[in-house]
Amino acid sequence: MKAAKSRHRATTRIATSHNKAAMLLASRYLLLCIFAAFFLFPIVFMVVSSLKPDDQLLRDTSSLRAFIPYGDISLDNYKGVFDRVPAGRFILNSIAISSLTVGLGLIVNSMAGFALSRVRFRGQKVLLSLIIATLILPLEAIAIPLLMVVTELPAISVGDGLEITRGWLNTYHVQILPFVANALSIFLFAQYFGSIPKELDEAALIDGASWFQIYRKVAIPLSGPAFATVAILTFLPIWNGYLWPLLVVQQEDIRPVMLGVAYFFQLNVAWGEIMAYLTLITIPVLLMFLAFQRAFIESVASSGVKG
């Protein structure tokens, strides 16, 4: 009898502590939801607005209805987008430019970072500091000098036979090459490679690996997180780039997506179409994020560098 009673009391105690834990969990989720909503609202607003005609869109902005898809919902704005802007072309351009910049950047910067983390030479620290120092210069500060440089650079063009011309304006590579080498990426790679135990290098050296093979077969496979981080960090500014393409690209068929936004502010401003266009150009970024986020988590989980 007594035993049963105390057992009963024990279970209630467990139950209450259980409740407490559940409450804690619930409140934590609530907080996370609020944060998520905070970041999601602008995107929801964008997507929802892209489905509404302009007059309803403008009316709804004064209330929470701005976030609700209702009323005169249609894909008309999306049709309008393609009438105003060669959106497909721009998106393809941007995908090509961004992924080439990121891809080349991963190769070049990881090699530079590897060298800086491994090869000991006089002035190595100074060199790394100089590279880091360039981080404080924003693009706006160097855009004009850079523009003057690229207008002078020689290029090979295929006309009637090969000829050497001057200036890189109005090309794809002028939108890519200046941004391949990236100080932040080099720094991140150097840091990450630096954290790989040097015994692994030594073991590989003795196993007969060259430095390039150590980079290729030991350092890279262990650095998934660094590659994912750098990919995300370098993709965004290129995708979002506006100033540089504005300076170097006049020809319409090689323009990136951000220059397209300006098209909607000529003549009459069409808000619904802007939202539709923005929705279209945001989707590749989200996809990119999802792809690398998974790679990021997987590489962290499977690397087991601690061994």
């Binding site: 030594e202 003795i206 087991g304 560098v305 061994g307």
Partner: protein, 382 residues
């Protein structure tokens, strides 16, 4: 197969620190040589110079009949086992073991066979598909060994390969590595700071201190005929007891204790006669001391009081204090072994009744006393 020889090798690190002084050492083909010494004495540095991971400041290093000072690690035909194993975390056991073969473009089928053979020898066959982080410490150690043996190199270099294992596994792997080396007949240089490993595994043992080679010899000779105070104290556990003493005719004074020296002592060490009236360092191993109550016909006894008794079953370790000035051998590890207010240790038969704070008479095996010069700290022999 190869012999390895150091010829007056010096190593000065870029910061100016000289880690190896004038090291000359010949390691024979198929020999198991152990490099032993306290932490920081330069063992790893010496080993890494053989591997080619550390530049040689001066002197000549030969592997086989080649001077390899400027030869890349991969061209030296050596394999190395690291203290923390340095397994590639992203590769399976099979890939880890086969990595060097893949790099040297050995045909796939042959790689598979050789990896399988190495795995069989090391009992890793079941683990071939696992990653290093899914293995136990002992298994990782074996993979590291596998990576070395699969290449059939002309020499193995091992830097404290057992120090990350627990005591029991260490004893087991100690035997396995020794057996493997014996079967494979590959010249091996094995670094450890554990003198038990050194004594049990090495064909010969080289004792280093502060970058200077102290003595190279078989384990038994190091124990019986140490060349100086440091080697005497370093080899053997617990360490040799060392005191200042004075030779007085055919006796030696250790503090207040007088011990008569029979002829055998002077026969073995003729040089000792020149020290009549002079100070010497006297050494006596703990195993050459015994509870006098158990030695009816003891040649010499000293009296003391017991400070501490450690019963180990097969023997008891008794700490006591002799009224004599102890000598520091310069072995940083030796200090910990002895309890605070004792200056001597004996290994007694478990039948001894030694008890803490009780007076005790201790029998000394006089013929086994060691004598060293006070200044040079070298053994007094001829």
């Amino acid at each position: 197969m190869a012999e390895i020889s150091f010829e007056e090798i010096n190593k000065v690190y870029p910061n100016g620190f000289q880690a190896i002084h004038n090291l000359s050492l010949d390691i024979a083909d198929k020999e198991f040589l152990v490099l032993v010494g306290p932490s920081g004495c330069g063992k790893s540095t010496a080993l890494r110079m053989i591997a080619g991971l550390e530049e040689i400041t001066s002197g000549k290093l030969r592997i086989g009949d080649r001077v390899v000072n400027d030869v890349e690690p991969k061209q030296r035909d050596i394999a190395m086992v690291f203290q923390n194993y340095a397994l590639y975390p992203h590769m399976t056991v099979e890939q880890n073991i086969g990595f060097s073969l893949r790099l040297s473009k050995v045909p796939k089928a042959e790689i598979k066979d050789r990896v399988a053979e190495a795995a069989r020898i090391l009992e890793l066959t079941e683990q071939l598909d696992k990653r290093p982080n899914q293995l136990s410490g002992g298994q990782r150690q074996r993979v590291a060994m596998g990576r070395a043996i699969v290449r059939e190199p002309s020499a193995f270099l091992m830097d404290e390969p057992l120090s990350n294992l627990d005591a029991k596994l260490r004893v087991q792997m100690r035997a396995e590595i020794a057996r493997l080396q014996h079967d494979l007949e590959v010249t091996t240089v094995y670094v450890t700071h554990d003198q038990v490993e050194a004594m049990t595994m090495g064909d010969r043992v080289a004792v280093l201190k502060d970058g200077y080679l102290q003595q190279v010899d078989t384990p038994q000779n190091l124990y019986d005929r140490p060349e100086n105070v440091f080697v005497a104290a370093f080899i053997g556990s617990p360490s040799m007891n060392l005191f200042e003493g004075r030779i007085d005719g055919s006796a030696v004074w250790i503090g207040d204790h007088q011990i008569g020296l029979p002829h055998v002592v002077f026969d073995r060490r003729p040089g000792l006669q020149d020290y009549d009236g002079l100070s010497v360092i006297v050494g006596v191993r703990p195993e050459d001391l015994e509870d006098a109550a158990l030695v009816p016909d003891a040649e010499a006894t000293v009296s003391s009081t017991v400070n501490l008794v450690e019963a180990l079953g097969s023997e008891i370790i008794v700490h006591f204090n002799l009224s004599a000035a102890p000598v520091d051998a310069g072995d940083p590890d030796a200090v910990e072994e002895i309890s605070a207010d004792a200056n001597a240790v004996g290994r007694f038969d478990p039948r001894s009744r030694a008890a803490v704070d009780q007076p005790i008479d201790i029998a000394v095996e006089v013929a086994s006393l060691h004598f060293f010069d006070m200044e040079t700290r070298l053994s007094i022999w001829d």
